[in-house]
Structures are given as C-alpha cells and as structure tokens.
Amino acid sequence: MMELAYAFKDKFKFALTTEVESIKDLPGYKPDENVAFWVLHCKEGKDDKKPCSATKYRDSIDLLSLARFLHVIDVEPMLVLPGSDHTFYEQKDMHVAAIIADKDNVDEIKLEIQAFLSKYRGYVGFLIVDKTKFDVANLGFKQDIETSMVGLKLRGETTWQLMPEFEMPEAFLDSKLQATVLPHREQVTSDMTDTENDPVQEDEDPLQEEDDEVAKTVRVIHGRSLDHTHVQRLTEETFTAQTQSTESLVVMFYLVFDVRSKASLLSFLEASRLLAADSLFPLATVECHDERDLCASQNITSYPTIRVFRKGKKYFNYNGVRGAKEIYSFVKLLLADAPVKLNTFEEAKLFLDGKIPKGFDNVTDVSVLGLFKENSDAERKAFRSAAKKLRGQFLLGEATGDAAEAIAKTIPNKLQLPKVVVHKRNDEFRPIQVCPPFTESGMVAQCARDGALVMFPELTASSFPKMYEESIPFLILFTHGRDNNIYRTVGALSADVNVPNVNYCWMDLDAKDGLAMKILINYYDNQIPSTPSLNLVDYQKQRTPALFTPALSTLFKQCVWSVTEELPMGEWKPLLEGYDFLKLMDEGKKAEDMDTSVTNEYGVGFDSDGNYLEKKTDEMSPDLEAAEKEIHDELLRLSRFYPKRGGGSHVDKTDRVHPEHTEL
C-alpha cells in the first residue's frame, strides 16, 4: 500500500484506518472482511453536506491489480454516443455497459445511471447510446434493439449479455459482475510461488490438491477421447508402411499418463485442424503405453518427443514450442519446397515479400533467398544442402541468372552474386541481411539462422528462450505500444554495430496479459515508475557490459532507466512435503503393537521365521530344546492329530471331551 501511495501521490490522498466505525457507512462494507479498499471521490462532490461518493475496490489486494484499478478509476465513468469513442472502455480493459436510449429519454437515463455509478467506477464504463443518432450496429447490436435495453460486455469478451428492460440495471450488473470478478480474483491471487492464499477446503487433503497449472488444465481430458480426426494414430503394425509411404510425417510419441504429453497433444491436435484447413495431413501420433515396443525401438525416453520422418527414416526431432500455431508453421515450412525455385524477377520479388508460395505470409516473416550466377555451382550446392538443414525453420528460395541479378540490384549496396539474402518482414530496423558466398553448407545455415534474428524483437514467451541462450544481458524497453519515439530510437540503436552486445527487446505495457506491467513494477522494487522505461537485466549474471557508450547515454536521457542487478535467486523448492510414510508406519506399528505371538505359521519343526529346526544335537542349548518342544507341543495341540482340549495348555491325556471344530 505504501508503494501504491508513493506511486500515485500526485493523484490521490491515501489514508489507512483500523477503525471500523469510520468506514462502516461506506458502500459494500462487510464486517467479516479483514482488508478493504475504497476510493472516495471528494473532489467531484460539490455538495458539502453529503459525504463523498465512494467506490469499493473488488479485486484482490495486490499491487498489480490495485495499480491497474487506480489507473482507470478517474476515467470518465459515463459517455454518451454519439459524441464519444465507443471503444474507449474496451481499450481501458474495463467492462462496458451500454444502455439503449432515444432522444427522448437520454437525459432521464443519464440521471438514473448517475445514481449508482460510483459503485462501479474503475470497473464498468457506461455508454448511453442514443439510437436515433448512433448506429447501434457499430457496437454489434441488431438494428431492432429496443430502447431501454441494457447490454453488458465483460472485460476481454466479445459478445454482449442483454437484459431486456431498464428496470433493475444495478442488480443485473451486480449479478453479472459477481460471476466474473470472483473467478478473476482467484486467478489473480494464485501466485506461482505462493499457495498460502489458495482457498483450501477444510476436509480436503492439501497434498491431493493439484497445484500444477498444466496438470490442472489437462485433467479435463483424463479418460476421455480427443478428436483425432486429422492425425493418423500409428501402431507397430502400421508405422513402417505409413512413414515410408509419406514424404514427410511428423510423429508425436507421447504417454497417455503424462501431463506434458497431454498438454502438448492438445496443441498438436489443434495444429492438425489448422493444417487440415490447408488440406494437409502430415501429423501422426504414437501412444507409448499401448505401443510400448514401437516407442522402445525408437528409443523414446522423454515424453512427448516430436519426430520428423522422411520416407521412413528419422529426420530430426522438433524441439520447438508446443503450441498449435508454432507446430502449424513448422509443418508448413517443413512441407514447402526447400528451396522454392523462382524463375523470374517478379517471382523472386513476391517471394521476398512473402507472397510466394501462397499462404505462407501468416506462417513466417522470414524469407531466405539464394541468388546465384548460372555458373556458381559450388555455392548453389552448399545452399541447397543448407536448405535441407533449415527445413521447417525458414522459407527458402533460389533464383539464378537474370532474375537473380535483377533482384540483387533492388537490394541496398547492389550485391555481387552469388549471395544469400535473408529478408525479415518483421524487422523494421534491419529487414535485410546478406550472407557472403559460402561453399560450405554449415556456414550457410549458420549465417541464415543468425541473419534471421530480429534486431529489436518483442519479448514474449516464445522469443525469450532464444535470446536467453545468448547468455548476454537484456536491455528491455517497457513501452505502451510501439508508436513512439523511444521505441524507434532503441530499435535503431539495436541495429547499430557499435553498441554493446546485449539483447535489445521491448515489452508492451498495454498487452492484455499484464505481464509487462507486472515485471516492470517488480524491477522497480514494487513501485510504479513512469513510462516508458528502459531496463538492463542480466539474467545469467555473466557480466555487466560497459553501457555508457555515447549512443546509449543519449538514449538514457530520454527515459527512465535502470540496471536491475540483483534478481532474487528463486528458491524453487517443493510447495508441500509428500506424505511422511516412515512416520505414519512408525505410528501404525506402535498402535498395532504387532502381535508376534501367533502360532507358528510354518508348522512342526520350524521357528517363527520358518527356519527349519535341525534335529536335536548335543550342542543344542536347553533353551532351544525347550523352545522346540513347546512349538512341537503347540502344533500337536493345535493340529487335528489329537482332538483339541478345552482350556489350559496342559494336555490332559485322560480327558476325552471332544472339542468344537476349528479351522484347518
């Protein structure tokens, strides 16, 4: 709270109280709550006699959620259409309530909304739509929507929930928000490092509560059949024939019991549907519990393993992201000609622009084009061989002769052939990389891979690992979108060969997942810095580079920046100890006091461990002898050799009472 107070000190006054008396008249007060948070809109209250209107905070009490709330609490809570931007609240990531009015009742409705508005500030933005002047279709309503209807569009959703009439909009909003705010709260509080806020049912064993997010989400498929329509399910019997008869087959070997397998399988199946839409069916699965021998013969020891087969032979393993889009793109690139033959200047041009082959513009942003003279055979051979290696990663094309010469002229610095050109449509700062004429395919492949790296990429879950692999520090720009000067400045710098060797990247503070904001706040010791912000972070603690080159110094003057030097180590310890069975067993033993006095279970001539007692010898101790006699007598007594006597261990040979039957 102190951090929040500091960050928003110019905007709000902060007060803290432990006096219930002082707050119990505030709206939404609940006596059983430990913590509650209100915003009082006193600046707006014109009537001195009335208390300030108040908004109760409804999300979880954590810095990120509170900060998000305070950012939007002072936005205009009610807008009238026409006259305002109808997407205003959606942009602010708020819930939107739209009330349909006509020119006669606009003012009336405004007043009514005003009455309960404050309760929802920071959560719901109200749009009062005069349908006589504003086309409701812009909002996604049908033209015949009636006046006084209330629509609610929840944060992140695309459809409107409708209430028929403007009678009890407050109750409607309350009930609808309840349904969203509550799950939302749970989601926000489940911090990955901390389960103490997790509500645990009292009679449930916390050890049996799933705390693995992936396991939790795949639990729904346990014991159910997934839609495998577009993937072949291979067996030991069909495997060889299927892989041999298919040019390229991408096979996921997975284990039905395994969480990672299940989660990856969902992506794989989703990818199969995307590919099917392109009439491609190159995906197959092998389940390694059923097909144990097949997986063993393929030496599968990690689940899942995604392996590419070409004409029946193992080609390589796919070690990329297990996401539907990623797998889809990989397979599309895998199946494309490598390289694509480009016969004319126009074709080559379209290839560089991602228009040839068709349908690849949403698959990759990178085109690798080999430009050769008619006689540059060695280089072309190296390129073709590299193309095979790069299959699945890039789209590769090849042009020779006039077409190649013509294309070369369009590229800055007018290339001398042969050359390999890497064109990155997603790299506004260095879209073209040129590789020298290598005659060794490994060098070509490496150059293409390096050349394809985006100079100033957005830092995302997918782009991070590759940068991390470089083992160099990150210079991260936190910014609201990329339409600003600082973005362009850093981007331009990143392409400058004279700047320090760090990973230049940026994160979008406006991104829906809120990750950039969360990270940023954390980097500033839980305070909210002004933005944009530039941060140097060294995740692997290699070395901090000399940052103060002239270029960067200028840059740092333009924004808030910091060096995040010491990140916490991260104690990734078990959240909970497993069952302590040793202790449980010790306790059990004590309680039971294991009865070892039971009759010898092994029979005549055996000790209680079943060891055969040797016949009496001279060395046999009197104790042993007695013990043996005792066992012997006991067995005779218990055995049905003699009728069993009732009572007493002494065998009275004159007693002829016949006993009851006993078990064997």
């Binding site: 969902l266 390694c288 990750l515 497993g578």
Partner: protein, 613 residues
C-alpha cells in the same frame, strides 16, 4: 606295437578333444532356466554351450506334472497391447524379442498341457539358435587352477569320457530328484514320480498322501472319485496361494479336496511330520503310528486318534530337490538350510557360496526368494536369469548394467510408465526393483531396471555404475497380510486412500530413497517384513483394483510430491508464459522451465476438442 600306437592315438584324440571342449560359459541343463540363460548369452555373442543329458529341451516336462496340466497361467487376453504388461499375466513364456515365441500362440488353455510347453521350449531353442549339445550327461564337476596363470577353470566329464571345460559354470539343472524321506516303514510307500495315475487302480482304496504341495493335491484330485477316501498329511498347515501370494503354495486349481474335507465327505487333511510317524504293515494294509522320537515308542495313546483307520496305499508327494550328485565332492556344494533345503546354498548374486564362478539359474535358484517371490517358476526365473546375465556381463565382459539417462523432469512420466507395464518387478516382487540414481545435483537420473534388491549395498560391484544417492522402486504386498487367523477376504482388505497407502495389502509400488547406499550391515539387519533397510524417505502408491496407477490425484500427484521432497526441487510443469514470468524475475527458474522451456520447448495452452460420440 599296434596297440601302443592305438593308445597314443587315443591319447592324442583325447588331447585334441580336451582342447576343443572349452567354452567361456557352460550351462548345465536345457530346461526353461538353461534356455533363458542360453538366449541371453547368444544375444550377447558369448562363447557358450548348453549341455543337456536328454534328447529334448525341458525334458522334465516329458513326464511331469504327472497329470499333464500345468498350473502356470496362460492369459491370452488382457485387453492391452503393451507386450511388457502382458508378460505380467503370461507365466509360461521365456523372454525374447521374437513375438512368435509367446506362449499364447502355443495353447488356448488357461492351464496348458505339459506337451505344449515341450513344443514351446523346442521352438524357443531352435528359433533363437541357442547352442545346445544334447545327449551330454555331465558329472564330476571340479575346479582347477592353472599354476602359472593362476586362472581357474571348471572341468567336467561327459558320459563318453570327454572332459569339458569352461571359465564360468551355470548350473540350470532344476530340481530333478524326488524328495524321499526315510522313516520306519517308508519302504511301503510309493512315490509321485512313478505311482499309477490311472484312477481305476484306486477303486475302493483308502489312500494316504504324504505331502501338502501342488503335486500332492494334483494326485488327490485325480483319484478321489475312485477311492474310499484320501487323507493328506503335511508338516505345515495348508497354505493357500491366494492367501499367501506365493504361487508355490496350494493353488485354487488343485484344491478340490479341501471341499470334500470341509464338507465332511471323508477326505481329510491333517498336520504331521514324517519324523513323528512310522508305517506298520497290518495284513495287506498299512497302519500309521505316531512315534516318540526319543523313546522310539508308539504314541497312539488316544482311542480316537484321527488316523486310526488302515490304508491301502501310502504315497509320497513331497516334491523335488536339487541334485548335487554331478559335483565332485571337492567343491563341497552345500544345501540351504531350513525351508530352503531343496536348494543349493547360493548368494543373492546366484553364485554358490564358497565356489567362485559357479552360478545357479532356473528353478534351483529359488533359494534366496523361496516362499517370498516367484524365482522358482518360469515367470520368475526368466527375470532372475536376466539379472544374473547382466551381472555376468559386467563381471566377466566389462559391459555395465544397461541404463538410460533422463532429465529429472522426465522422471515422473518414466516411473508412471514403468509401474503400469514393467513385468520383471511385478513377478519378482520384493526381489527385483528399479534403481534411479540421482546425478548432477538432482537434475539428471540414471535409470536401471530390475536390479536384485538384496545386492543394493554392492550396487556398483554388480552393475559397473558407481552411485551414491538412489531411489529404489519396488512392488510389494502389504506385510503380514495373511497368516493364521486372518481372513484375506475381510471387508477392509484394501484401501483406496492415498495417505493410507502404506496399509495397502495388494501389490503396489513402494519407493525407497537413500542419500547413501545402504551398507552390508544395514542390509543384513533387515527385519522379517522389510524388503530393504529403512530409507531416508519412503513412498507408497496406494494399491489399485486395476493395477493401473494413472489417477492424477490419487497416484500421480502424491508421487510427484515425493520426488520433489527427495530431490528438494519443484517439479511442476508450467505453461510458457509462466516460465517467462519467473525467468524474468529470478536468476533461476524451476527445473521444468530450465530443462524444457528455456530449450525452446515451452507449452502453449490449447483447448481440448473431444471426439464426437
């Protein structure tokens, strides 16, 4: 002159033969145990031979069991395709990679006929090209040390006077000698081995069978419809296999006589030992009397003595024992003591006590697990033979025990897969177990399958891998589940509660974690019910009705927590976005993110689409 030349010639030929008849490995006996060893030696490309005195493989089954029916189950269907899993319920096949050599192709009978096993064994030998020298009866096995090289070699003679030599000797001659105790009047008894199996020969006869094993009951069942009655005596109480989990105890398939006993239909079962009895000829019939060992006098002092009726036939059905007549007395082959006295005295490495390089495989290797596991039966010793072979490979060939190196984050899935299919530790429960060695500060695991548990203190010596910290996976029944006075069908015989898993009674996976391998002393001071010494951490997965340990909350989650405790690591899986968030806020990330996400294999969440019904 001529005769002298001839003599020289004979000697020469003898020399040549002697020089030729050397193998690195000799396996005595081409029964199931010998063939199983033979297959592993063949597959490993070793210089070996199997010596078989008869003309066929597994010749024991030419005569036994006398009534033709095997009692090893031949479960042809399990509803599963997993070949390893299916071996859990196939008790007759030997191990090989050849799928045509599965017993289900040889018989449709759940309890197959012995001739079918003979066919199977013959095919097994031929198809796998196992080198067997038939008609070779060895004797006088002895050991010789070369004075100069100090190397030892085994020598033995065949029936033609040839001397055969080898470096390593594996005796897989089974239990071939009937047990025939001597007591007063034992000359009036007949033996299971050659008693008539024609029920007509028992018409109207009163029969006493001495013995309580499956062969005794097998005989009783075949004749009890013809006799006046069958009485059976044995020195131990009747132990039912389904109560003791020991397949050598009385199997339900043979126990019909218990019915007629309990229904008071004249047949009966009592406890006694031959040490306490004598048979007295009374006219044509036989009378059983109790004797006092010391006084040597009759003890039949009660006039209602249970066995006061006379018998027409007394038949010994006391099973078979190891025949150590093939050894020269210089080897001083000892027999086990106590209950295991049918077996040669061997260590847990299957090597004879006091005779280096001499091993036992097959049925006779049952001593160490007698009445504990299945090592006396095909479905058990096929695995102990494999374990023995792996030990031999390391000891004599320098080939370490096969192992697979995996990431710690792959361990949970690997274990779940193993416990749901592995057959070796399922059949040889409590005797063989998987060993997971913890390496690289808990980031990597080396996985070894089906290691002899009782050699855990000698792990590096027998496997060629040196480990300190290990997790051992064992399948075991609940201790003290059955016994006198215990009802194995009691209503609370099974539990389903994960936190109560240590009270599981049925076969279930148990994990032992040792920061340091147990010492020899710890191994030898185990208590009666302990499979292994007290570990640093222990885990039980609760027994399962289907023996399918795949339940996310009840089986997998508690296991993950156990592995996390052992490795002191968070082993959860995370979606790529969560890994990213943690990576950006810490110097380190959870192991999954480190080993998978940061290598580019992050998982993006996708929604399931279910099959339309």
């Amino acid at each position: 002159m001529t005769s002298r030349v001839l003599m020289v010639l004979v000697t020469l030929v003898g020399c040549i033969q002697a020089a030729d008849k050397y193998w690195d490995y000799i396996v005595v006996g081409a029964g199931p145990g010998g063939l199983q060893m033979g297959h592993f030696l063949q597959k490993a490309g070793r210089n070996y031979v199997l010596l078989e005195r008869n003309s066929v493989a597994a010749s024991f089954f030419e005569k036994f069991p006398r009534h033709d029916q095997l009692i090893s189950i031949n479960k042809r269907h399990t509803g599963k395709k997993n070949t390893e899993f299916n071996l859990r319920h196939d008790w007759n096949s030997l191990l090989s990679d050849d799928k045509s050599l599965l017993f289900r192709h040889y018989s449709k009978l759940f309890f197959p006929q012995r001739v079918q096993l003979l066919d199977y064994m013959a095919d097994y030998q031929k198809k796998l090209g196992i080198n067997v020298q038939f008609h070779t009866e060895v004797s006088n096995i002895r050991k010789e040390t070369n004075a100069t090289t100090n190397k030892t070699v085994f020598l033995m003679d065949d029936q033609n006077g040839n001397t055969l030599k080898c470096k390593v000797l594996i005796v897989a001659s089974g239990l071939s000698k009937p047990v025939e105790p001597k007591f007063q009047g034992s000359e009036f008894t007949e033996n299971y081995s050659d008693v008539s199996i024609n029920p007509d020969d028992y018409e109207g006869k009163s029969v006493l069978i001495i013995g309580r094993g499956n062969s005794a009951f097998e005989l009783a069942e075949s004749i009890y419809g013809s006799t006046n009655f069958v009485h059976m005596i044995g020195r131990s109480r009747v132990r039912l296999s389904w109560a003791t989990h020991y397949v050598g105890d009385l199997r339900a398939v043979n126990n019909a006589l218990l019915d007629t006993y309990q229904l008071k239909s004249l047949d009966a079962v009592v406890e006694a030992t031959t040490d306490d009895m004598q048979l007295v000829k009374t006219g044509d019939r036989l009378k059983l009397e109790l004797v006092d060992q010391q006084a040597g006098v009759s003890e039949n002092i009660y006039d209602n003595f249970a066995m006061r009726d006379l018998y027409d036939k007394v038949i010994l059905c006391l099973g078979f024992q190891f025949d150590n007549g093939i050894f020269n007395s210089s080897l001083n082959i000892k027999k086990s003591k106590g209950r295991e006295d049918k077996f040669p005295l061997i260590g847990y490495d299957y090597q004879l006590r006091d005779v280096e390089d001499l091993y036992i495989a097959g049925g006779a290797s049952h001593g160490p697990d007698f009445r504990k596991s299945a090592g006396g039966f095909i479905h058990g010793f096929r695995y102990t033979a494999r374990a023995l072979h792996r030990m031999l490979e390391w000891k004599y060939e320098g080939v370490p025990w096969p192992s697979v190196s995996i990431l710690s984050t792959d361990l949970l899935a690997t274990i779940i897969k193993r416990i749901n299919e592995g057959s070796g530790f399922y059949q040889m429960f409590g005797m063989l177990g998987d060993v997971m060695a913890i390496r690289s500060a808990g980031e990597e695991i080396e996985y070894l399958e089906e290691v002899p548990l009782n050699l855990l203190d000698r792990l590096s010596e027998i496997t060629g891998h040196s480990y300190d910290e290990v997790i051992v996976l064992v399948l075991q029944y609940g201790a003290n589940f059955s016994g006198p006075g215990k009802d194995v069908f009691r209503i609370d015989r099974a539990t389903g509660e994960p936190s109560d898993a240590h009270n599981s009674n049925f076969l279930h996976p148990v994990f032992y974690h040792y920061k340091q391998l147990p010492t020899a002393e710890q191994m030898s001071s185990k208590t009666k019910y302990e499979i292994l010494p007290r570990p640093d951490h222990m885990h039980h997965i609760v027994e399962d009705f289907l023996t399918l340990w795949d339940a996310p909350s009840s089986h997998i989650l508690p296991l993950r927590r156990y592995l996390e405790t052992v490795l002191d690591r968070d082993l959860r899986t995370f979606y790529a976005s969560d890994c990213l968030s943690m990576a950006m806020l810490h110097q380190t990330v959870p192991l999954y993110c480190q080993q998978h996400y940061l290598s580019g294999r992050g998982i993006i969440r996708a929604e399931p689409l279910f099959q339309q019904s």
